[in-house]
Amino acid sequence: MTTSPLADVRAGLIAVFPPVVAVVPFALILGQQATAKGLSPAEMLAMSSIVFAGSSQLIAVGLWSQPAPIAALALMALLVNLRHVLMGASLSGKIAHFGRLRPLAAFLLTDEAWALSERRAIDQPISRAFYFTVALTLFGFWQVASVLGTLLGAHLEHPEALGLDFAFPAIFIALALGFWKGARRTGPVLAASATVAVIVHATVPGAWYVIAGALAGIVAAVLAAPRATPAAAEEATP
């Protein structure tokens, strides 16, 4: 099924609306925290546009001191963002046709853009128009909201009372269900991933739990896969 670029832009805007609702309060909180650590609005803008990775930015601001601990911040960013390697590996073949835009697509890769693209890839190919509409919309809102947060920070002291921090997990739960292929195939993946992620999160500091949980999930997938079935027969099943 092929669609026009304009229809894909519209589909991208519709798809990206819920994540924008979730990302804006997150970015406002980030800006407020950055101000409390003595970062200027210009520094916030530099970080949001150059790093453009929410969780690692929020943790970085928590670690920030004057002068900035460069090595610790870089190592933290590496650990928190290692999950991008897995996301990129999964997405790569689905955007092979992006050509020269692939390095830019990589720069704009976020949890939200990745999850929405993978969800769309279930039904139809990911077009450039769809991907960049989603990714650039998130980029734009991220810049504006994080800088705005540095300017209005004082009014946002208890955002958790509004439950806004739950928007992010709610989106991911709903998107994860889109990958459901039956209890026998997907059940073990989700169970293994959730169990290992929770255990590692409780016992190992840092963001290793995402990597550990994801690896447990894919090991479960390989073990649960029907071994006798030839790959060709599997492809034929809708």
Binding site: P18, A74, D111, F166, A214, A221
Partner: protein, 99 residues
């Protein structure tokens, strides 16, 4: 509107490292097979990553666990934005009542 040079260096270091994590997946994926166990593993990656990110958040407290379960059930019925609105509203209400 000032940028401290040490802060800028830290931001650049974070940015370079983060970009490497983003491009690395694209570079290794081109060498991966199109079928077999590695393919099965790659196909399972999206839900595995999503659940690994979310599970510790959902199990961080009773309010989050209740809201997480409700979100899961709602997600079979409602569009994404509806799930987010109801999930966020439920967490806010539960925190108001029990927080």
């Amino acid at each position: 509107m000032t940028i401290d040079p040490v802060n800028l260096a830290a931001i650049l270091a974070m940015g370079i490292v983060t970009y490497l994590t983003r491009i690395a997946g694209f570079l290794i994926a081109d060498r991966l097979p199109k079928s077999g166990p590695v393919r099965v593993a790659l196909d399972a990656l999206p839900p595995a990553v999503l659940v690994a990110v979310v599970a510790p958040i959902v199990l961080s407290g009773p309010i989050e666990a209740v809201a997480g379960l409700a979100t899961l059930l709602l997600a079979f019925r409602l569009p994404l934005i509806g799930v987010v609105v109801v999930g966020v509203g439920l967490v806010a209400l539960l925190r108001l009542a029990f927080g």
